[in-house]
Homo-oligomer: 87 residues x 2
């Protein structure tokens, strides 16, 4: 599990580091990450409006950036659905 | 990222399936998982009392079992620390 966790952290950092704060995902970074890394797990991963709505629902403090823990919540829900767990 | 998420889900299921409910971790299953899968990320992974305390802090509904999303919260915090993000 530790190596899988390491992969998720380093991928997050790779995308978060492309502009502005290297610890958070901007709107553009989030779009790029979803399209390239979560194309099957996110419904409508190719639909920019849907990704904007998803981002707004995760960005609890409405600062226009997703922190690692905000992002982690998303992948927890995707993982839970992928695993067939009840939410 | 999808394959790393898949690894975490299948490892969780492998441990959760060893006794009782196959969707949740019992105390024994959680101990085995932490010792074998998170030996470096969990401080005191070899200390049973510490693991019991960790489990209590995660088991929000106090039913003695950890759901996938309760477990996901733990690994989010471990991942965040591993990545050097502020909590």
């Amino acid at each position: 599990m530790e190596s899988a966790i390491g992969v998720l952290v380093s991928q997050f950092k790779a995308f978060a580091g492309s502009d502005g704060s290297s610890d958070t995902l901007s709107r553009d970074e989030f779009h790029r990450l979803v399209k390239s890394q979560l194309p099957n797990f996110v419904t409508n991963a190719g639909d920019s409006t849907a990704i904007d709505q998803l981002m707004s629902s995760l960005d609890k403090d409405n600062d226009g950036e997703l922190s690692f823990l905000e992002f982690w919540k998303l992948i927890g829900h995707l993982a839970s659905r992928h695993g067939g767990f009840s939410l």
